[in-house]
């Protein structure tokens, strides 16, 4: 411990023979650990962030809602007239002229969620566990009060004993909602291997 003894740091009443603190995993310690876990699962950042913090917070929040499969909150975090595009080609053309992996309006996003929720989507039985890593976040101002952003993403997926990963970049259009708070309007997920034969993308990308 870089020459500093545990006893000096923690100053326990009764130092253990190995220099470790006295036994402390009691009910109160368990309560604290369990409460920390539950708090972290449900905590939403409070208060007004500004600038880069505000944008990053929205992007992280959207990723977390998907990872936690909180689909009602996830759908509600998008503006009513939202679009969700996952291109199928590395250099996509105008999406009117070619198919995507997704090109969803709110109605088809709602279908996507309903199919998972219905309990009979075999490809999500059991469901995928996912963790999205966002980095390289950049943002700039769009028309009016809107904000554009892009980020790199790595999605780790665990399902049926197998860990898979997906990498790509994401593009976002953010705009004020009816209450004037910035919200997600459009999201584009551009996977590195979007034009390769796809495995079972049955979770929401």
């Amino acid at each position: 411990m870089n020459g500093v003894t545990a006893a000096a740091v923690n100053a326990p009443a009764t130092p253990h023979a190995n220099g470790e603190p006295a036994p402390y995993l009691d009910d109160a310690a368990y309560e604290g650990l369990w409460a920390l876990w539950r708090e972290a699962r449900s905590h939403v950042a409070q208060g007004e962030a500004s600038g880069a913090d505000r944008v990053a917070r929205l992007l992280f929040e959207e990723a977390r809602l998907l990872d936690e499969r909180l689909y009602d909150a996830w759908l509600a975090s998008f503006l009513p007239q939202c679009l969700y595009w996952v291109p199928r080609r590395h250099e996509p053309a105008d999406p009117r002229t070619e198919t995507g992996i997704y090109l969803d309006d709110r109605r088809r996003l709602g279908d996507r969620v309903a199919m998972i929720r219905g309990g009979h989507l075999h490809a999500q039985t059991p469901p995928s566990r996912t963790r999205r890593m966002l980095s390289n976040i950049e943002h700039w101002t769009g028309p009016g009060d809107s904000v554009r952003a892009r980020a790199n993403v790595v999605i780790w997926e665990y399902r049926k004993g197998q860990m898979r990963h997906y990498a790509g970049s994401q593009v976002y259009a953010l705009a004020p909602d009816a209450q004037g708070r910035l919200a997600m309007q459009t999201k584009i997920v551009h996977l590195l291997d979007c034009d390769a034969p796809q495995g079972n993308y049955s979770f929401i990308l």
């Binding site: 199928r88 002229t97 198919t99 997704y102 309006d105 279908d111 996507r112 998972i116 034969p197």
Partner: protein, 438 residues
């Protein structure tokens, strides 16, 4: 190998694996040695789908495909003839073309610079003075399929030069190809790839499944229920609720089978799930062309109607889409999906077609793939249970043979799947090896 009755003898080891009572042996899906033989005797032993003519429309266009794992360059020569060349240098075996598609008169091997024309002829041997008088340049042309032929734009190749003519092999199923092509038969119709997917299971599971309506209400329950709950009945897969319907399955011989949904789909447009942009596109078309013509256009946008599976690797799905199965290993398969773009139709028609093509490939195929992988797990790991049951319809008296020899069954019967396994046995029991021309 399966247990045989005492004293039973079979001319071919494959004969006993497909039984007349509809039972098929598990090793067809799990044995790598059988898979290797399929690449010779099935993918090398009959007509196999290569590509659509409109994918290589111009002189010197080419596209690379894999046919029973063989890397193949399909070229259109300067004369307009379509050739299928083995993408393998005749010097050391190197794959010579790594571009998925393009336009080229010649292909040069990156290893020692040998150059071949797009007809397959070896045109240049580098530092040729190093080869003695025994070197026969003409014997070093690229290997090519002895037969290439097309029907209504669908191009097939055969490594068996003695196979029957393509139209005879397709047989009465040509009428279904005609129906599908004539639906969208405009000069501006061209085929584009729309998606591809990979699953960890045997290729025949996909071939079976495309001729299987029995699974639809169960495997695709997520799509059916969410669609009915959110958009009302009569949409999406609603016509597949029970098995007493005007739809039917059919077996045409040579492994070709059909599910005909058309009797249950008076209007593809009204049946279709509400895809994104549906309302705006319909409004635009009605304003421009009036309701009657607009409905004609809108009925071109969906993909339901028929599943016509031409053995071993092509399924034509309705009018304007088809899939190609690419076997990779005994337990790994890639499926490529294609759509039709109509360059001479209003833009809204093509936009809607794209949204429809995303819909079932996105929502339906994922459950199919999950089921294929579960089957592979079940068949691959319980050797004590040897047989798979494809007997549905047998002995019921509800299968009928028509004047053209095709057998029709109830829509949930396994009539066509059994037929495909009969053809599998015919091909696998042959004493045959594929051949190339040079």
């Amino acid at each position: 190998m399966p247990r045989l009755a005492p004293g039973a003898r079979h001319a071919s080891p494959y004969d006993a694996l497909v039984r007349p009572d509809g039972m098929v042996h598990r090793t067809l899906f799990t044995d790598p040695a059988i898979f290797e033989q399929e690449m010779l005797k099935i993918f090398g032993g009959t007509w196999v789908f290569l590509l659509h003519e409109t994918e290589i429309p111009n002189a010197n266009d080419f596209k690379c495909v894999n046919i029973g794992r063989r890397p193949v360059i399909v070229t259109r020569t300067a004369d307009g003839e379509i050739r299928a060349l083995m993408n393998r240098c005749t010097h050391r075996g190197t794959v010579i073309c790594v571009q998925p598609h393009g336009n080229a008169k010649r292909f040069q091997c990156a290893y020692h610079g040998w150059t071949f024309t797009n007809t397959g002829e070896l045109s240049t041997v580098t530092f040729a003075e190093g080869y003695g008088p025994g070197f026969d340049k003409a014997a070093h042309n690229l290997g090519r399929f002895p037969l290439v032929a097309s029907y209504r734009g669908y191009v097939f190749g055969s490594l068996d030069p003695d196979v029957e003519p393509l139209e005879d092999w397709i047989g009465p199923a040509t009428a279904l190809i005609d129906w599908s092509v004539d639906k969208l038969n405009t000069p501006g119709a061209r085929v584009v790839q729309t998606s591809s997917m990979v699953f960890q299971a045997n290729w025949k599971l996909q071939n079976d499944n495309n001729g299987d309506m029995y699974h639809v209400p169960f495997t695709h329950r997520s799509v059916g229920e969410a669609t009915s709950a959110r958009h009302g009945s009569g949409k999406g897969l609603d016509h597949f609720r029970g098995d007493q319907t005007p739809m039917y399955v059919k077996y045409y011989g040579h492994g070709h089978k059909l599910i005909d949904q058309r009797p249950a789909i008076p209007s593809p447009w009204e049946r279709a799930r509400p895809v994104p942009g549906r309302e705006a596109a319909a409004d635009a078309l009605e304003q421009r062309f009036g309701p009657t013509k607009a409905r004609e256009y809108l009925d071109m946008t969906g993909r339901a109607g028929i599943n016509l599976i031409l053995y071993p690797n092509l399924i034509i799905a309705g009018a304007g889409s088809f899939n190609v199965y690419e076997p990779v290993a005994v337990d790994r398969t890639i499926v490529h999906s294609y759509g039709v773009v109509l360059d001479d139709a209003p833009a809204e028609v093509n936009t809607l077609k794209n949204r429809f093509l995303e819909d079932f490939t996105g929502f339906g195929y994922r459950d199919d793939n999950e089921i294929f992988e579960r089957i592979q797990q079940g068949l691959g790991n319980v050797p004590e249970m040897e047989w798979v049951d494809f007997s549905k319809g047998l002995g019921t008296g509800r299968e009928t043979t028509g004047a053209d020899g095709a057998i029709t069954g109830n829509v949930s019967d396994e009539t066509g799947i059994r037929g495909a396994y009969d053809y599998w046995k015919v091909l696998m029991c042959r004493d045959f090896l594929p051949r190339v021309l040079v």
